[in-house]
C-alpha cells in the first residue's frame, strides 16, 4: 500500500530525514518509535502533505501513486488520514459542520452522493459511541477549549467518520491519562481491518500495550536503525533509547 524508498527531507535547509525505506502492506499496523528529534513527526507530516518540507531525494508510492506530488486534500480524498499530535483549534466552526464538509468532499471525490444533515447525524451518532464522546462537544467550535484528551478523541472520531485506508497516528498517546488512552486505543483498534493500514508514531512503549503492532521500527537521527516485531518495543522499554544511540554511533 505504501512504499517509501530512500526518502530524504529537509526543513529550512537542514536534513531531518536522511534516507527512509519503509513498506507498509494492507491490514498491517506499523509502530515507529524513537527519541525526541529523531524525525518521527516530520515523516508523518511529509506523508500528509505539509508544506515547507523539501524532499531532497527518494519517493513515496501510495497504491501506486506518487504521493509526494499530491496536495494535502488530494491525499485525504485518496484515503490518507493524519491524527495530529497537536490538533488545531478553529474558532467559530463546529466539529459537526467541519466534519460533514470534509466527509462530503471525500464522498464527492469517490462519486458518492453527499450526505445531508440528517444522514450525517445518524452516521456520527454511532461513531461518537466508539470514542465515548458527548454529542454536545461536537456542536462546539472545533477543538476550542477542549482538554487534551477531548482533542485526541476528536481526532479518532474524525478518523472513524472519514474511514481512511492509511492512517497516520502522530503521538496520539501524548498528554493522555490512562482512561483517555484506553478510550483512544479502543477507537483505533475498532478501526483495524484487513483493508486498512496504520502507522503509529510514539515515543513510549505504553501505547503499544493497547495497540499491538505487527511491526516496530526505530527511527534515530533521520534513519530507521532497527526493525522488528512487537518484541522490539519491549526491548526498547527495558533498555532505553541509549542502547540504540550507542549502536548507531558504533556503526557510523
Amino acid at each position: 500500500m505504501l512504499d517509501i524508498r530512500g526518502l530524504r527531507v529537509a526543513v529550512a535547509g537542514k536534513e531531518i530525514l536522511r534516507g527512509i525505506d519503509l513498506a507498509v502492506g494492507a491490514g498491517e499496523v506499523h509502530a515507529i518509535m524513537g527519541p525526541n528529534g529523531s524525525g518521527k513527526s516530520t515523516l508523518a507530516h511529509v506523508l500528509a502533505g505539509r508544506e515547507n518540507y523539501q524532499v531532497v531525494a527518494g519517493e513515496a508510492l501510495y497504491r501506486g501513486h506518487d504521493l509526494l506530488a499530491m496536495s494535502p486534500e488530494a491525499r485525504a480524498r485518496e484515503g490518507i488520514f493524519l491524527a495530529f499530535q497537536y490538533p488545531v483549534e478553529i474558532p467559530g466552526v463546529s466539529t459537526t459542520y467541519f466534519l460533514k464538509a470534509a466527509l462530503n468532499a471525500l464522498r464527492k471525490h469517490r462519486g458518492q452522493d453527499e450526505l445531508d444533515a440528517m444522514e450525517f447525524l445518524a452516521l456520527i451518532k454511532d461513531k461518537l459511541k466508539l470514542v465515548e464522546m458527548d454529542q454536545a462537544l461536537i456542536n462546539r467550535p472545533l477543538n476550542e477549549g477542549f482538554s487534551g484528551g477531548e482533542k485526541k478523541r476528536n481526532e479518532i472520531l474524525q478518523m472513524a467518520v472519514l474511514d481512511p485506508t492509511l492512517a497516520l497516528l502522530d503521538e496520539t498517546d501524548s498528554g493522555l491519562d490512562i482512561d483517555a488512552l484506553r478510550i483512544v486505543a479502543g477507537g483505533v483498534n475498532a478501526l483495524r481491518g484487513k483493508d486498512r493500514a496504520m502507522i503509529v508514531i510514539t515515543h513510549y512503549q505504553r501505547l503499544l500495550g493497547y495497540i499491538v503492532p505487527d511491526f516496530v521500527h526505530v527511527l534515530y537521527d533521520g534513519r530507521i536503525v532497527k526493525s522488528g516485531t512487537k518484541e522490539l518495543a519491549f526491548e526498547l522499554e527495558s533498555k532505553g533509547y541509549d542502547w540504540i544511540k550507542n549502536e548507531a554511533a558504533a556503526t557510523h
Binding site: 502533505g49 488520514f81 478553529i90 466552526v93 467550535p141
Partner: protein, 439 residues
C-alpha cells in the same frame, strides 16, 4: 468635478429648493436645515488634512454629479428588498426608496398603538414638540460636513419612539434602499430613535442597493436611550458595488441605559461609519460591534468615539475586518473619559484578517483620559490565515479555497455572536457561509 465645485453645487441646490419650496416645513425644521447649510458652507467636505479622515479620500464620493433623489426607481420587487435587507417576513418595517418613505412596502402591523413608527416627512409639517426637541440635538453638525449636509437636506427617514416601560421582543426593520438605473442619486436619510425610560427595542437599519450604478447615501441616525432603557441596534450595509455611503450614528445614553450598536458592512465602494456614543448617565453601558468585509477595491472606514461623561459607565468594543483583493479597511477607535467619569471601564479590540497581499488596513486606537480612577484597555492586530489551521483542514479533504473560507467564517464568528438580534444573526451566518464559499 472638484470637491469645491461639488460643495458649491450642493449649496446651490439647497438655495434653489428653499426658494422654490418653503415646503410647508415647520419652523424648527426650516431653522435646523439652515443651520445645517451654514455649517456645511463653512466646513465643506473633509480632506486628508483632517486627522479623523486621514485614510479616507471622499473626493470620488462627492464629486459625481448626483441628482437629489425623490423616491424614484421601480426596478425591484418587494421580496428582493426584504431579502436584501435581512428582513423577517411579517416583521414591522419602514421602507424608504432613495430616501423617501414607501408606504406600500412598509408595515407597522403588530406594534403596540403607543409606539410611534412613522416617516419623518409625514410628521415634519406639524409643529411637533418631540421632533423639535430631539432631532439635531445629538448629531453634531458643526463637527462633520456630512452631518451638516444631511441636516441641510433632511427630508425623510424613520421616526421611532418607544414609550416608557414598553418592551418589544421582536426587531423593527428600517430599510433604506437606494439606486436608480438612469442616473446617480444622492439621498440624506435621517433616523430618530427615542427609547423612553425602562423601554426596550431591537432595530435593524439596512442600507441596500436596488439598482446597479453609483449613488451616494448620506445617512444620519440619532438614538436616545432614557434611563434604564435597552437598545439593540444594528446598521447593516449591503450597498451597491459603485455606491458611496457616509453614515453617522449619534447616541446618547441616560442613567443605567444599555446600547448594543453594531455596524456590519458587507459591500459598498466607499463606506464610512461614524459612531459617536455619549455615556451621559451614571452606570450607562454600551457594546459596540463591527464587522467589515471588503474585496476588490472597496474602502471601508469605521470611526468610533465613545465618551464617558458620567461615573461608572462601561463600554466594550470589538471590531473585526476581513479584507481581500485590494480592499482598504480603516479603524479609528477613540475613547474619551471625562474628568467626572470616575470608575469608567472601557475595553476596545480591533482585529483584522488580510486575505491577500494587496489588501490594506489602518488601525488606530486613541485614548483621552481625564479621570484618574478608570480601567481602559485597547488592542489591535493585523494577521493572515494561520497556515497550521489551513493544513489541518486540508488534511481532512477540504480544498484550499474551502479551508480558507471556513477559517474566514470562523474569524468573524465571535463578533456575529455578539449581535443580540437572533433573526439577524441567523441570516448573517447563512450569508457569510455562502459569501466566503464563493471567494
Amino acid at each position: 468635478m472638484s470637491v469645491s465645485e461639488s460643495r458649491g453645487r450642493f449649496i446651490a441646490a439647497f438655495n434653489e429648493r428653499r426658494a422654490a419650496a418653503r415646503d410647508g416645513a415647520a419652523v424648527w425644521l426650516d431653522e435646523l436645515r439652515q443651520a445645517g447649510m451654514s455649517s456645511f458652507a463653512e466646513l465643506g467636505f473633509p480632506t486628508a488634512k483632517n486627522e479623523e479622515w486621514r485614510y479616507t479620500n471622499v473626493e470620488a464620493a462627492v464629486s459625481l454629479p448626483f441628482a437629489q433623489a425623490n423616491g424614484e426607481s421601480k426596478s425591484f420587487s418587494t421580496r428582493d428588498i426584504l431579502a436584501q435587507g435581512f428582513v423577517e417576513s411579517g416583521a414591522p418595517r419602514l421602507v424608504f426608496l432613495n430616501g423617501v418613505y414607501a408606504p406600500g412596502l412598509s408595515s407597522t402591523r403588530g406594534l403596540p398603538a403607543d409606539v410611534r413608527a412613522a416617516s419623518l416627512a409625514d410628521q415634519s409639517g406639524r409643529d411637533d414638540a418631540l421632533l423639535a426637541a430631539r432631532i439635531g440635538r445629538y448629531a453634531d453638525l458643526r463637527r462633520n460636513g456630512f452631518v451638516a449636509l444631511n441636516t441641510a437636506f433632511m427630508n425623510d427617514g424613520a421616526v421611532l419612539v418607544i414609550p416608557p416601560g414598553c418592551r418589544l421582543a421582536e426587531p423593527i426593520y428600517l430599510v433604506y434602499a437606494s439606486g436608480a438605473p438612469q442616473r446617480p442619486l444622492v439621498s440624506h436619510p435621517r433616523t430618530l430613535i427615542v427609547l423612553g425610560a425602562n423601554s426596550e427595542v431591537k432595530v435593524v437599519e439596512s442600507y441596500i442597493a436596488v439598482a446597479p450604478g453609483g449613488y451616494f447615501c448620506n445617512a444620519v441616525t440619532e438614538l436616545v436611550g432614557e434611563a434604564a432603557s435597552v437598545a439593540h441596534y444594528c446598521r447593516l450595509q449591503r450597498e451597491g458595488e459603485a455606491a458611496f455611503h457616509m453614515g453617522t450614528l449619534a447616541a446618547h445614553l441616560g442613567r443605567g441605559a444599555h446600547l448594543t450598536a453594531s455596524a456590519v458592512t458587507l459591500s459598498g465602494a466607499l463606506v464610512r461609519n461614524n459612531v459617536h456614543v455619549s455615556l451621559n448617565g451614571e452606570g450607562a453601558e454600551c457594546v459596540l460591534n463591527g464587522l467589515y468585509i471588503g474585496a476588490g477595491r472597496e474602502h471601508i472606514d469605521n470611526f468610533t468615539e465613545i465618551e464617558h461623561v458620567k461615573p461608572r459607565a462601561t463600554s466594550s468594543e470589538l471590531y473585526k475586518g476581513i479584507l481581500d483583493g485590494a480592499a482598504h479597511g480603516v479603524f479609528n477607535g477613540k475613547i474619551v473619559v471625562h474628568k467626572d467619569a470616575q470608575k469608567s471601564d472601557a475595553r476596545q479590540t480591533n482585529r483584522n484578517l488580510l486575505l491577500s497581499a494587496d489588501a490594506v488596513v489602518n488601525t488606530k486606537p486613541q485614548l483621552e483620559i481625564y479621570a484618574d480612577d478608570v480601567k481602559c484597555s485597547h488592542g489591535s492586530t493585523i494577521g493572515q490565515l494561520d497556515p497550521d489551521a489551513l493544513f489541518y483542514l486540508r488534511s481532512r479533504g477540504l480544498g484550499s479555497d474551502e479551508a480558507r473560507s471556513l477559517l474566514s467564517f470562523g474569524f468573524a464568528s465571535d463578533v456575529v455572536e455578539r449581535l443580540k438580534i437572533d433573526a439577524l444573526r441567523r441570516r448573517l451566518n447563512d450569508y457569510l457561509l455562502e459569501k466566503f464559499r464563493k471567494v
